[in-house]
């Protein structure tokens, strides 16, 4: 680690370097860590490590196993917040390498936990160590991309964060293939799949480690001139991370991200049972799996589409669209459901999930507009704690409101209506936070007396 290869200085690009070589480096890291969204493919096999074909006495329960994912997501948010400033200091190559070590190490330690049948070791491995890899990996390319693409910051970070959404699309079928390949009379293939995936993802993340470059100081794209009069909310000043999170703007954006994510993640957590219950007898479990796949594609595509759109219409306007269109769609979904219009129902959720992904992908550029690029990676890391909160809030709200409705005699097909109206309320809060955004006061700028 002390070798110069990993130092920021050795990643400075040569003259005439093609800046479009940097997004694939970022995408490689995000495609790998996006695997976490497909972790549920391991849930059932992990409850059958002893019984193999079905759970046996001594096997872990489903309830115990789902904590692995929850721990990983919680550690993602907290490690991004904790190590954000280190990532800024160390540079993208060193931080991507550490992320690769942690993420792959998490798989390997998890595999040891499976071998010894120690659930705590799996929690510590994939959950904690792997979660640190997720957090550091998620933020490591962000500020580099923003510096390479000052003319199109939304598009640049949108591409990387689209990779995170795409990671699940690769990992789900890959996990199934690997488990089928390694299945034997004495193993259901999970242990071997963990080891293999650890190795594959380490090598894949190394593409990012090797390819990433930072621009020379004061570099600008050829022919690009910074606007003499920046748009409203776009600053030319710089705000340090330790100052940023004491400003109202940081907490307003925290609210914007948290509300947008809560609404989307709540739907994702119940997508399959929800469509089967609302259209009971018309949508099978297989078709519901197709619905989950389709909304995952829109979640991924929305990251690039909305973040790129934000470069044209502005960050605040993009979130206004998310919240207003979101309120309109969530409030009409119950009516669409009662009317039995499956096509419209699917279309509504495809748009909703595209805006969920778009919310993640547009936030780094929004932070850059408000706080400058100096420590935007660290500020982004701290803002990701909103994701950790939303990751718990969304699914808990969805399932508890549904259960409450069912307990009060509401038919299954209508049990999600109140939930949709509650989501509208959350989006309204997000809308108000976004509406209240103003430029950061000059006293918070770097170098201000």
């Amino acid at each position: 680690m002390s070798g110069s290869f990993f130092d920021r200085g050795s990643t400075i690009a040569v003259p005439n370097f093609n800046r479009f070589c940097v997004p694939p480096a970022a995408i490689a890291v995000h495609l790998a860590i996006g695997q976490v969204y497909a972790f549920s493919t391991f849930n059932i096999p992990l409850t059958r490590l002893i019984g193999l074909s079905e759970s046996a006495p001594g096997d872990w329960s489903q309830k115990q196993v789902v904590w692995i994912f929850s721990i990983a997501i919680a550690v993602l948010g907290s490690s991004a917040a904790l190590f954000g400033r280190w990532v800024e200091r160390a540079g993208p190559r060193k931080s991507m390498f550490v992320a690769a070590l942690c993420f792959a190490g998490g798989f390997l330690l998890g595999a040891v936990g499976i071998r010894l049948h120690s659930l705590w070791l799996v929690y510590a491995g994939y959950g904690v160590l792997g979660g640190c890899g997720l957090g550091v990996g998620y933020i490591s390319p962000v500020s580099t991309l923003l510096k390479w693409f000052p003319d199109r910051p939304g598009m640049a970070t949108g591409m990387a964060i689209m990779g995170f959404g795409g990671g699940a699309l690769i990992a789900a079928p890959l996990s199934v293939l690997l488990m089928a390949h390694f299945k034997s009379a004495t193993s259901n293939g999970v242990l071997e799949s963990f080891v293999t995936m650890g190795a594959i993802y380490f090598m894949f993340m190394m593409i990012g480690v090797i390819a990433v470059r930072v621009p020379p100081p004061d570099w600008k794209p050829a022919g690009w001139v910074e606007a003499a009069k920046p748009k409203a909310l776009v600053t030319t000043a710089q705000v340090a991370a330790k100052v940023a999170w004491h400003t109202p703007q940081f907490w307003l954006l925290w609210g914007v991200l948290c509300m947008n994510v809560t609404a989307g993640i709540g739907v994702l957590s119940v997508a399959s049972p929800m469509i089967q219950e609302i259209f009971s007898g018309r949508v099978t479990a297989t078709a519901a799996a197709g619905f989950v796949g389709l909304i995952s594609l829109f979640n991924m595509g929305g990251r690039f589409f909305w973040a790129s759109t934000s470069d044209i219409i502005g960050r605040r306007a993009t979130y206004m669209v998310f919240f207003l269109l979101g309120i309109l769609l969530y409030s009409t979904v119950p009516t669409i459901g009662f009317g039995g219009h499956i096509g419209l129902f699917v279309a509504a959720f495809c748009i909703i999930l595209s805006m969920y992904g778009g919310g993640f992908a547009t936030i780094p550029a929004y932070l850059r507009d408000v706080f400058g690029t100096m420590e935007v990676g660290a500020i982004h890391g701290r803002l990701l704690t909103a994701w950790s909160v939303a990751g718990v809030l969304g699914p808990v709200l969805m399932s508890n409101l549904r259960d409450y409705q069912l307990a009060h005699g509401v038919p299954k097909a209508q049990a999600y209506s109140v939930t949709m109206y509650v989501m509208c309320g959350m989006l309204l809060v997000g809308f108000l936070c976004n509406l209240a955004m103003r430029p950061v006061a000059a006293k918070h700028h770097q170098g201000a007396a």
Partner: protein, 32 residues
């Protein structure tokens, strides 16, 4: 530089295209 650019995009594009294809294969079941 152009070859490096193409190789990098292929390295990330091919796995992503495979993932999208597998997901689309699954998604069409919704319309059957």
């Amino acid at each position: 530089m152009k070859a490096r650019l193409a190789v990098l995009w292929l390295l990330v594009g091919l796995p992503l295209a495979w993932g999208v294809f597998k997901t689309l294969q699954n998604a069409v079941k919704l319309f059957h």
